[in-house]
């Protein structure tokens, strides 16, 4: 039976280790957006020994490139993008303290191993529910790579953002295996 937790950022080892696949988390606090191009720059910064635009310790990265904010709203539609494209970057970020990523779709074996090694989780948000998820985002501001437009890193303030534990820190996975001899 799945449990629903209310968690606040930053996440601790204790927060992460109690989560099992299928649990629902209503997340409140600060999260950071980053997708393809931003990840490339983050890792290039690490290679050069530069300080990252946000502290990875206990942090969550949301794989999203939102639509422009219409007048009177902090952000436009903001649902998850497909996560596997960030698989080559995620283990290194987890090793530096990143506690969770939020996206949709399968992760590589390397990412799953990193979740176990560094006590971290992978959350799914509902793909294609961008208008609905946007309602939980109360503030947004670009903090880095503004030239990347929708791919810039944004700091989001979220309240009760609904997440589903897809991969937990013990190696579990929620996604169903297709009934097919593959």
């Amino acid at each position: 039976m799945s449990t629903t937790y209310k968690l606040t950022t930053p996440l601790t080892d204790e927060d992460v280790c109690k989560l099992v696949i299928g649990d629902v988390v209503l997340l409140t606090g600060t999260i950071y957006t980053a997708r393809d191009a931003a990840h490339k720059r983050l890792v290039e910064s690490l290679d050069k020994g530069e300080t990252l635009p946000f502290d990875l310790k206990g942090a969550l990265i949301y794989y999203v490139g939102p639509t422009p904010a219409p007048p009177g709203r902090p952000i436009g539609a903001a649902g998850p993008t497909t996560s596997y494209r960030m698989d080559s970057y995620a283990p290194r970020l987890h090793s530096l303290g990143l506690k969770a990523t939020i996206g949709k779709g399968k992760r590589s074996d390397e990412v799953k191993a990193a979740l176990t090694a560094h006590k971290a989780v992978y959350f799914g948000a509902t793909g294609g529910a961008g208008a609905l998820l946007s309602q939980c985002i109360k503030a947004a501001r670009v903090i880095a790579y503004e030239d990347l437009g929708p791919e810039a890193i944004r700091e989001l303030t979220v309240v009760d953002f609904p997440l589903l534990v897809i991969n937990d820190a013990t190696g579990g996975e929620l996604y169903v295996k297709p009934k097919l001899d593959m």
Partner: protein
């Protein structure tokens, strides 16, 4: 020769860009309700509940259904007895530019090497067919990257026939798993050549979900594929359930004696599309 003012094309295209991104097509809305009622798993029911709530909210607030408002893909049937003042292609791109700006839609077109955003979601991907008459028919699709990435083109041996086609399509959907935002719509292009199979697979997605193929044999094959895909049990968002795809649409073209070209175009659950006749 009938002259169609460029402004009419610009306005029609801009409207389709904006409308398709905030209002779930009626056929998809109906299919969500039908499939949700059939699901027994709580997670599948919950995903459909969220998608229906998202659709209601997008319609009411005019926020896009999804943050990936897509590349603009257009299929145009241009009557041979009409032309668009100032050029059809220019007018369509202007319409896309306007729709994505005025609708606060995300611009996702970029250079493949530098990854630099073109800034206005153009150039649109435009396929133009010349047809008899003096009308201009434009089909618009907002195509997201996550689902498009799961699409494939392959060449089977003619000996593999329908069993080979079925196996490839079902495996493709199985391998894509939760990535393309299931429950998907699957466009299948059979025959033609490398580019034609891909184009007809994409164009097949423009058909309404409740549309039954006029050829009873193809209609039966669409059902056979859909049933086999839904047997996979991937379900909405990959969390398990009876609905892995909402529909399968097949398009067929003659091909070379030596070939059996096959294209699978994967579309996400919201299957955002519109059409207009000018």
């Amino acid at each position: 020769m009938r002259i169609i003012p460029a402004a009419d094309v610009i306005e029609a295209v801009a409207t389709m860009c904006m409308e398709s991104n905030v209002e779930l097509p009626a056929d998809v809305w109906a299919k969500f309700r039908e499939c949700a009622a059939r699901e027994e798993s709580p997670s599948a029911k919950e995903i459909f509940r969220q998608l229906l709530e998202n659709a209601d909210l997008a319609k009411e607030t005019r926020l896009p259904l999804c943050q990936d408002t897509g590349l603009a893909v257009l299929f145009v049937d241009l009557g041979e007895d009409c032309r668009v003042e100032g050029g059809l292609r220019a007018a369509i791109n202007e319409g896309v530019r306007k729709g994505y700006k005025d609708g606060y839609l995300r611009k996702s077109a970029c250079d493949p090497f530098t990854r630099k955003n073109t800034g206005d979601n153009t150039p649109a991907i435009i396929h133009i067919d010349l047809v008899p008459g003096d009308k201009l028919k434009i089909f618009f699709m907002a195509k997201g990257g996550g689902s498009e990435n799961m699409s494939r083109v392959t060449f089977l041996s003619p000996a593999q026939g329908w069993p080979g086609i079925k196996d490839f399509v079902v495996r493709r959907v199985a391998e894509a798993g939760p990535n393309p935002c299931p429950p998907t719509v699957i466009g299948v292009g059979i025959g033609g050549n490398a580019e034609l199979s891909a184009i007809i697979a994409k164009k097949a997605l423009m058909r309404s979900l409740d549309d039954v193929h006029p050829d009873p044999d193809i209609a039966a094959k669409e059902k056979e594929l859909l049933d086999a895909i839904n047997e996979l049990g991937i379900g909405p968002m990959g969390l398990g359930g009876k609905t892995t795809s909402l529909g399968v649409k097949i398009a067929v073209a003659p091909c070379h004696l030596a070939s059996l070209p096959l294209a699978v175009n994967v579309q996400c659950h919201s299957s955002r599309h519109r059409e207009v006749i000018l």
